[in-house]
């Protein structure tokens, strides 16, 4: 193989305790010309303080509209091996679990067809295969399908749902996050692969209000586990925590947003009728407290990054939902929302922005849901009320 380019600036980033992405690129550069050119290009960016990528055109695999991000350097003469350097987004297995065999299959395919570089994983959750040429897209895709992997989304389509580790390892999972994520991905293959929405649409599934996949901040539909009955308390274990030095008054009671706990030094009392299911007390004393048995999820809608109308957090759409496979009730709701949004959403308007524009009340009427107090932080403060029925007598 050819020699690695000189990278005095990037070399600085091989120092220090944290594992270095430069070392990773160099490793790949030993094997692949594209990664070697990437290394050179990146050094150039570091020198010039400027990126050297152009807007991607639309590239992809046969019959799919999404899943590939086209990318071209603006310095193809200097770095010909990355004149095309597209990434492929591949659905991760829910919960990001792998057998070593599956991982090696991906590695082998990507050694053959791409740069040998990956992101494990992308921010949306996909396996990111980082950089290949247009002609390699279809062969890579077919090779991946052969071992059971498929493309994720890009453009105005559904994106790969993601889920927290949930029931696979976490005692707090209030529903089967992996199961739901998988089911949604399989059900909505068409929406995932063939962009036909006004803009992108993301699902994220967290098993409890700790929200370990940050669903509330970055999913058009955020499904967050919760429960309806009482927190399960093992009083002996609470006492143990206290005996071991946990300051329950300061650490737990004063931090309870429902102000619904009392601790008299011996017993913990919870007024569950005012508990907000915030998880804090459970987080602090995982051996003593557990979510109740009547478990389910809150469905929230609309979060997204700032562009265009400002960032949004998801907001409550269904206060409590009992997830039961095959989740037809949820899927019907999703389809109803998509139909409305496809019909009335503007180009590049996320569903959250759409609701902001038309108003939550109107949105609810249009999808046939009744308003519930849980959907708002508080009722309106301004008196500019459109009365639904002016009584004309």
């Amino acid at each position: 193989m050819a020699e690695l380019p000189k990278t005095p600036l990037l070399d600085e980033l091989e120092k220090g305790p944290w594992p270095s992405f430069v070392t990773e690129i160099k490793e790949a550069a030993k094997h692949k010309a594209s990664s070697r050119d990437l290394l050179g290009l990146l050094e150039r960016s570091y020198r010039e303080r400027l990126g050297h990528w152009k807007h991607g055109g639309i590239v992809g695999v046969l019959g799919y509209g999404g899943g590939v991000i086209g990318r071209y350097t603006d310095l193809p003469q200097d770095f010909p091996a990355i004149s095309h350097f597209h990434t492929m987004r591949i659905n991760q297995p829910p919960g990001w679990f792998y057998t070593s065999k599956a991982l090696r299959q991906i590695c082998d395919i990507w050694e053959e067809h791409g740069s040998g570089l990956t992101n494990m994983h992308g921010s949306t959750g996909d396996i990111i295969l980082l950089g290949t040429t247009t002609p390699e897209l279809e062969p890579t895709f077919q090779a991946l399908c052969a071992v059971g992997f498929d493309l994720g989304g890009s453009g105005s389509d559904m994106r790969t749902p993601s889920s927290c580790v949930g029931p696979a390892r976490c005692e707090w999972a209030c529903y089967d996050t992996l199961g739901l994520a998988h089911d949604l991905t399989i059900t909505f293959q068409d929406e995932l692969h063939r962009p036909m929405f006004p803009y992108k649409f993301k699902f994220k599934c967290s098993g409890c209000p700790n929200d370990c996949v940050a669903a509330v901040a970055r999913a058009d539909m955020s499904i967050i586990g919760t429960w309806r009955d009482d927190i399960k308390v093992d009083h002996a274990k609470v006492k143990e925590y206290a005996d071991k030095g946990l300051d329950i008054e300061r650490t737990v009671i004063r931090n309870c947003p429902g102000k619904c706990m009392e601790w008299d030094g011996a017993t913990l009392a919870i007024d569950n009728s005012a508990c907000r299911k915030c998880m804090h007390c459970i987080n602090v004393m995982p051996k003593a407290l557990r979510p109740g048995d009547d478990r389910g999820a809150t469905i929230l809608i609309g979060s997204k990054a700032p562009i265009v109308e400002g960032a949004l957090l998801s907001s409550v759409l269904i206060p409590f939902w009992k997830p039961e496979p095959p989740y037809e009730d949820l899927k019907d709701l999703v389809r109803t929302i998509w139909d409305l949004w496809a019909e009335e959403g503007k180009n590049r308007e996320r569903v959250g922005e759409f609701i902001q524009r038309v108003g939550l009340g109107n949105f609810l009427s249009a999808i046939g849901l009744d308003p519930e107090a849980e959907m708002v932080a508080h009722p309106r403060e301004n008196p500019y009320i459109f009365y639904a029925v002016g009584d004309k007598e």
């Binding site: 570091y46 090696r104 390892r169 005692e171 915030c278 265009v308």
Partner: protein, 360 residues
């Protein structure tokens, strides 16, 4: 087209069951509690009494297949051939035999991967592509992340103790692919000059109405140039968001002198204690200074140390600041407060201090 119909498509991802170790398959949904044994190591106990040990290894996320194969080897050696990644891109090794923990940690160390990030700790920085792969980037992603993680590594490995979780994220432009907008500390690449419109090219490459609609501040107007349709930008109204560039390549904003980084603090995602909330502007601008962005690193370290020294147990960055108030935070952090910090977008009025509750 016969080929095409024979192609396997639309299969979706592998089912997780095929990927999970037997102990998980057996105890799926039946875990009862967990305990953090030491930095980066925790044990989960199931109703059955089974135990599952997790060792979390830090990762730069941008990894080569050669590294992944090493991970696979370790999974074979210690975990019956299974592993997972986390929502913040760390690798997790899942053991049933606690005897494997220390040798595994040693093996990980040998290939350059520290163990930590569990519990009251700083875990990996969620981040994006930067100059490695994106045309939009106002800064690099992986480089800053590496430099910052080097500096705060003791908070990952548990050498230094902190009051609770602290989440850092980086996005290289306002598209915020890292969803940095709800992080304890967010590092955000920013432009500071309006687009350099290629007036001639706009009409050819882009849909004028889309370009006009893309601007959050209505700074873009349709225009005519030499009889052809194009756009013009009212520069005073532009706040450099680059959304026009996203929809139209003829309006680039990248600029080696004016691009850089802003720092945001106090966001969170979890519902624990306080509700999820956005990060707020702390430092409007730090110039790009590759390869190691020392000013950014210093700033992050200072913020982490300030929080670590002053926050109460479990108090996230924003919860701490809300308790002591923002003016006091600015004073303690010795950060200047400027016009840039005052919101002037749509809901700005609601961010004004509408009470006399002040710390003097």
């Amino acid at each position: 087209m016969t080929e095409a119909t024979q192609r396997v498509t639309d299969i979706g991802p592998p089912h997780h069951e095929k990927m999970m170790p037997p102990v998980i398959q057996k105890n799926y949904g039946k875990w009862v509690s967990h305990e953090i044994l030491k930095p980066g190591v925790m044990v989960h106990e199931a109703e059955s009494g089974d135990k599952l040990y997790t060792v979390r290894a830090g990762s730069p996320r941008l990894v080569s297949i050669w590294k992944l194969r090493k991970f696979a080897d370790l999974a074979d050696k210690y975990c019956g051939g299974h592993l997972r990644f986390t929502s913040r891109h760390n690798a997790e090794f899942l053991l049933t035999d606690p005897a494997g923990i220390d040798p595994l940690i040693a093996d990980l160390k040998a290939i350059g991967h520290p163990v930590g990030g569990i519990g009251a700790a700083i875990t990996s920085i969620v981040h994006t592509q930067g100059w490695v792969h994106c045309h939009s980037a106002a800064t690099d992603a992986s480089g800053i992340v590496k430099a910052v993680m080097d500096a705060i590594d003791p908070y990952f490995t548990g050498t230094k103790k902190i009051p609770g979780k602290l989440r850092i994220a980086l996005a290289c432009c306002l598209n915020m692919c890292g969803a940095v907008h709800c992080s304890d500390i967010a590092i955000l690449g920013i432009h500071r000059r309006p687009p350099r419109t290629d007036v001639g090219a706009v009409g050819k490459l882009c849909e004028i109405p889309n370009v006009v609609a893309s601007c959050p501040t209505a700074a873009i107007r349709p225009a005519q140039k030499d009889g052809a349709s194009t756009v013009e930008v009212i520069e005073e109204q532009c706040m450099y968001c680059a959304n026009c560039y996203t929809v139209c390549p003829a309006m680039p904003l990248n600029d080696p002198v004016n691009d850089g980084v802003s720092i945001w603090v106090g966001g969170k995602v979890s519902n624990a204690r306080s509700e999820p909330t956005f990060s707020k502007l702390a430092v409007p601008y730090i110039p790009n200074n590759p390869p190691r962005w020392p000013e950014v690193v210093d700033c992050v370290v200072k913020l982490v140390e300030l929080w670590a020294a002053n926050a109460r147990p479990y108090e996230r960055m924003g919860e701490w600041i809300n308790r002591i108030t923002w003016p006091k935070f600015f004073r303690m952090a010795e950060l200047p407060f400027s016009k840039e910090h005052i919101d002037d977008f749509k809901h700005a009025g609601l961010t004004f201090k509408r009470s006399a509750q002040l710390v003097h």
